[in-house]
């Protein structure tokens, strides 16, 4: 056998990692989502009582139910929160894509010796805490903030704009925060693209614009898809940005989850919200992967 014990452990490690850090917490949350709210510590029942033996296990499973999920489905607040999160994350992803693609394109076309520095600049914001950077946007966007002062002083507006505590502020915050996650994967695909492909396209009669849509864009698709997932998925569950920049009418599932968990101390309902969110994210990912597989086998 060429497979030694050592190499098997090495192969098993990532699975072990997933098992311990993803599957186990997932099962625990799933279990809580099927439990009932109770005034106890932790604040739900039932608890698995292994000392009672088989009867204890049976009683435990009998007490689990889908009450919380039915509740979620019946209260339009939650459905609206999900839909609104999808919308906010979707639109922000689109804006991030447009801005991120332009920046990535410019980076990939910059002189070779400048590129490492420019990429460094894209990553630079990560050196400051995410929370502080979002806080800084309050200073920029508020009524007497930097943006309004600047616009007023150059006479572009007569009245200060209300951006703070609106969905616009949330969009700005998300686009700003997640932009590097869009730029980097797209830059990676653009940077390794063979420049002579564009010359070939021109040689075969394409205008620059046609060459972009027929060659550059399809070849950067893997980067676009990766970037969109890296932005869309965390944006959907985003809590900090809508909490700090959004207003009372900004509805996002991350905020709802927070309220259920910390304000109402309804752990079972909060868990149900989390599980549904996970399912919501997994479905498109699986669909996407299936399609990728088909494409690869098809050729």
């Amino acid at each position: 056998m060429t497979r030694t014990l050592g190499s098997r452990i090495l192969v098993a490690l990532p699975y072990l990692w997933l098992l311990v850090l993803f599957l186990a917490p997932f099962l625990i949350v799933l279990k809580i989502s099927l439990s009932d709210l109770a005034v106890s510590r932790p604040p739900y029942t039932p608890h698995l009582d292994l000392t009672a033996g088989w009867a204890g296990i049976k009683a435990f499973f009998a007490a689990l139910d889908f009450e919380n999920y039915t509740f979620l489905a019946e209260d339009s607040l939650y459905i609206n929160a999900y839909l609104s999160s999808l919308k906010i994350a979707g639109i922000s992803t689109l804006i991030t894509l447009l801005i991120g693609y332009s920046i990535a394109y410019a980076l990939a076309r910059a002189p070779r010796r400048w590129r490492p520095t420019l990429v460094m600049l894209v990553i630079l914001p990560f050196w400051t805490s995410f929370l502080i950077r979002v806080y800084a946007w309050i200073g920029i966007l508020k009524t007497e903030g930097l943006l309004n002062q600047a616009l007023l002083s150059i006479g572009l507006i007569a009245e200060p704009l209300t951006i703070m505590n609106t969905n616009t502020a949330v969009y700005i915050g998300i686009v700003y925060s997640y932009l590097p996650f869009m730029i980097l994967p797209i830059y990676a695909t653009l940077e390794k693209m063979d420049e002579s492909l564009l010359e070939a396209a021109a040689d075969l009669g394409s205008s620059r614009l046609a060459a972009f849509f027929l060659v550059t864009l399809p070849l950067s698709m893997p980067g676009i898809v990766a970037g969109c997932f890296l932005v869309f998925i965390p944006a959907i569950g985003e809590f900090v940005i809508p909490d700090l920049l959004g207003g009372s009418n900004t509805l996002m599932i991350g905020k709802t989850l927070w309220v259920e968990f910390f304000n109402n101390r309804d752990w079972p309902l909060a868990s149900a919200v989390a599980i549904l969110l996970l399912l919501l994210l997994i479905v498109p990912i699986v669909l996407f992967q299936r399609q990728q597989m088909k494409q690869e086998i098809g050729t």
């Binding site: 063979d194 396209a201 075969l204 009669g205 394409s206």
Partner: protein
């Protein structure tokens, strides 16, 4: 009998491409210097030269990816400079092939026709035809990364040819192929060129390849043309030592012109040896420094001095390169210079009985070598 194909010899023939005093500078560096050249319809024209001499730069100017710093390029008598690459009736087969990795073979080939707005039915027909011509029919639905090097090269060729360009540029098209496939492909290329009648300009490092495929060859040196001639002329009548040395194997002896007589000259190459007789159209005055270029296959080697040879020198065998079909003898003359002599091994080479250190005679006819003045 049709007359041989030689439009360049006809002063009235209109060339397809005329390159007039073209210079290309990158910064202060001149990659192409004051180059003039005419290429005719249906020619298979080869550009040959050492690395960095400006071959690719010249091709890129023809395709439109670079603009000449000075001079002009005409196609059918029309200045090409205002026409962008996309609009030129010129297509290029790239050194790296530059196939679109996300498109199938078929779609790669159809790419250019779609851009022209050719009707769908015609695209399908022309793509099918060209794929048959380059034997790619079975691979139509594959992507470039599922093809061998030779197949990719044929896709690149088909993609450029299907547009029926007036001029096809091939930048080292066979560089990535092994020797055998390369030779096969050379003949395929010639066949295709003859079938379609397209004018081909091919860049190559490989002088044998240039000799095989082309109607004429331009030898470039440091951005300039060293010589433009048919393969035979280039081999038999090089103008300079550079060209003689670049094309094929050669021995170059330097000497002083002594006397001119009977359509030739004498060349003194060594003290104590008789002057060499060389037939040449040149008439340099006595005392001029000149060189004799001698192809090894025109030099015979023997133990005794051949009685009827025009030129013969005595020497000693320094080295024997046995190449199977031929053997090349390196013979050292008394002054240390070396003459190469080649014998075909019609009988086994070891039967000839000449071996290392043997005293021998090398001999050649007075019209075997070429007198060079530069």
């Amino acid at each position: 009998m049709t007359p041989p194909f030689a439009p360049w010899a006809d002063p009235d023939a209109k060339p397809l491409i005329e390159i007039r005093n073209v210079t290309k500078r990158f910064g202060a560096f001149e990659a192409v210097r004051d180059l003039s050249l005419a290429i005719h319809e249906r020619e298979f024209f080869a550009i040959l030269g050492p690395s960095g001499c400006g071959k690719t730069t010249l091709m890129r100017m023809l395709a439109g990816f670079e603009t000449p710093s000075e001079g002009e390029i005409l196609l059918d008598g029309q200045d090409l400079s205002p026409i962008p690459p996309a609009k030129r009736p010129v297509n290029m087969m790239f050194q790296s092939y530059a196939l679109f990795p996300h498109l199938t073979v078929e779609k790669n080939i159809a790419f250019g026709l779609k851009r022209e707005g050719t009707p769908k039915a015609e695209i399908a027909e022309r793509v099918t035809d060209i794929m048959r011509l380059v034997q790619l029919t079975d691979f139509a639905r594959r992507k470039p990364d599922q093809l061998s090097g030779g197949q990719r090269q044929r896709v690149a060729l088909a993609r450029a040819l299907v547009k029926r360009p007036r001029l096809l540029l091939l930048d080292e098209p066979l560089g990535a192929l092994d020797k055998k496939l390369r030779q096969e492909t050379q003949f395929e290329l010639m066949g295709i060129q003859e079938t379609l009648g397209t004018t081909f300009v091919i860049v190559t490092h490989d002088q044998e390849e240039a000799m095989t495929v082309s109607s004429r060859i331009a030898v470039m040196r440091a951005g300039e043309l060293a010589q433009v001639a048919t393969p035979t002329d280039l081999y038999e009548r090089p103008d300079t030592r550079f060209v003689a040395d670049f094309i094929g194997e050669v021995t170059i002896l330097d000497g002083i012109v002594t006397a001119a007589s009977r359509g030739g000259v004498g060349l003194s190459v060594m003290e104590g040896a008789p002057d060499l007789r060389i037939i040449t159209p040149h008439t340099p005055p006595a005392g001029t420094q000149a060189w004799l270029a001698l192809r090894p296959e025109k030099v015979s080697i023997s133990r005794e001095r051949p009685a009827d040879a025009d030129n013969a020198l005595a020497g000693k065998v320094l080295d024997i390169a046995y190449l199977g079909n031929i053997s090349t003898y390196h013979v050292a003359l008394p002054d240390g210079s070396i003459i190469k002599a080649q014998e075909s091994n019609r009988q086994r080479a070891d039967r000839r009985g000449i071996t290392w250190e043997d005293p021998v005679w090398v001999a050649w006819e007075e019209d075997a070598g070429v007198l060079l003045l530069a």
